[in-house]
Symmetry: C2
Subunit: 301 residues, 2 copies
């Protein structure tokens, strides 16, 4: 029977991965207030926005202003998605602590998402990684569709390794491996992580699960049994795709914390503060967020 | 790293554990049509109703008529909850194949639920078990609140073992161990199952998870790593408590099947048929059921 680690670090991606997929727009002031609350939860990293061109992600077009206005909490790394040098320039000006670059392990998904082949994407990312490192910033490399691709189906660990190797060579500090469409089951986690962890130490690997089929918590459990100690999650389970009603968002930070607390794993995070942040954004979005732990806690007053 | 079994048997409890907690009443004809659809899904057992006094569970007051009217599908065991000899008499007349008796591992929960102490409950159940076995029926013993009790908090494996021993001695064929309030995490599964499986063979143990905090799939995964091959679930994740908005129902059969299919575990069950049954009852209840796999599949048409 697999065991789990003593300490786990959760990165809050709700303000970026969550909000970018919500139909309802949140005002800049509300975002700032919300991120300030999240900052007090004990979380060590918040991906607070994206410097992708506003044409592609209009919900996050205020990335620069949000970065300027949030209160920097000591001990929290504020990172943002950075697609290219123009984005990096703006992000540095806004005062990011970390830059996240991104690409897909699937050729077709990368093409649809970034409008470039995988080989055409590398030089762009390499430039951003170099620039961010030169500015003394932490750099995370997101690899999406590491299990399944909506266009190509099953993605082999070898495809993921190829992209991972290239990003590590280019200088990223760590890799976040994404179950972008939330299809994976624990056997797929086994297949991928047994290959990945032969190549990279577990501290460099972050697992990023979406909960489209309700498998995310089981996949996190399984990842921890492989020694993984870092996970991305979004408060309340924010996200999903406005064009696919059933598509769920990131695994909910609240549910992850329920699991970790239950297992006696240290996180340094405060459930009550998280719940406050979740209820705040839930009221601003005007809809119930999918997190079951949150729904239960909220029903108990 | 724990492995999982090759074959798992799922018992559908939606018509009983699911419906008993839904506010909206379903007509007898709709129940019959729905159970007939479920019967074609490849499921091996359906707990189709309860012979508890209608005063306590008005939603299932038509247990007798439903039993008479459903089409018996070969290879499916039709069971029902039976609280006492009066219930058994009616249930046998309605043609049950299996009787489920029930009690709690928690003294206070048992008292609140059955209005008897644990010691006062045994003789009643023993009479029912003896009667049902004499009539040649399969008997399952439900033990509820095996992890946590809303009144007493943490329940020790020893408390569960005491009740389990007594029920096995009384002649039940198997035991269904219930995470009634859906609070357990995988470490609790470890603690309980390591004790239980020293005493009983895994074939006699059914795990029954509710998904109140979104932990059920991870707990099923963990139970399978202990060698458990039998689970209760409700189509669509039916259930929850009308008096506690956040309280979720049983783990969704659809999500369980997504997990099992993904792991390559045989179940003999047909996803499409299950989805049909889920969408049917969802439309009759007039609300979205919590299953994520169902929501996703439904959104894809």
């Amino acid at each position: 029977m697999g065991r789990w680690p003593d300490f786990v670090q959760v990165k809050e991606v709700g303000p970026r991965d969550g909000l970018q997929n919500e139909k309802k727009r949140i005002s800049t002031s509300d975002k700032v207030q919300w991120i300030n609350t999240l900052s007090e939860s004990g979380v060590k990293e918040i991906e607070y926005s994206s410097f992708v061109h506003p044409k592609w992600v209009p919900a996050l077009s205020d990335a620069h202003e949000v970065g300027k206005r949030i209160k920097r909490h000591p001990g929290v790394r504020y990172s943002a998605l950075v697609p290219n040098m123009k984005g990096l320039e703006l992000a540095l000006e806004a005062g990011i602590d970390g830059a996240s670059v991104f690409m897909s392990a699937s050729e077709t998904h990368n093409k649809k998402n970034i409008n470039k082949s995988i080989d055409e994407t590398y030089p762009v990312l390499e430039e951003v990684i170099k620039g961010a490192k030169k500015a003394g910033k932490h750099v995370t490399g997101y690899v999406s569709t590491v299990f399944d691709c909506p266009y190509e189906g099953r993605i082999s660990p070898q495809q993921v390794l190829k992209v991972a190797d290239r990003l590590i060579e280019a200088g990223v500090d760590d890799l976040s491996l994404g179950d972008t469409i939330g299809t994976a089951v624990p056997s797929q986690v086994d297949q991928l992580l047994s290959e990945i962890l032969e190549r990279f130490p577990s501290e460099k690997i972050i697992m990023h699960f979406h909960d489209t089929r309700g498998m995310a918590i089981a996949n996190i459990m399984r990842s921890m049994e492989h020694g993984i100690t870092r996970f991305d999650s979004a408060i309340g389970g924010l996200g999903g795709c406005p064009y696919a009603p059933g598509a769920a968002g990131n695994v909910a930070t609240n549910d992850v914390l329920y699991l970790l607390n239950g297992l006696g794993i240290k996180t340094g995070m405060d459930e009550t503060k998280l719940q406050e942040a979740a209820l705040f954004i839930q009221s601003k979005l005007g809809k119930s967020l999918p997190s079951k732990s949150l729904a239960y806690a909220a029903s108990q007053g």
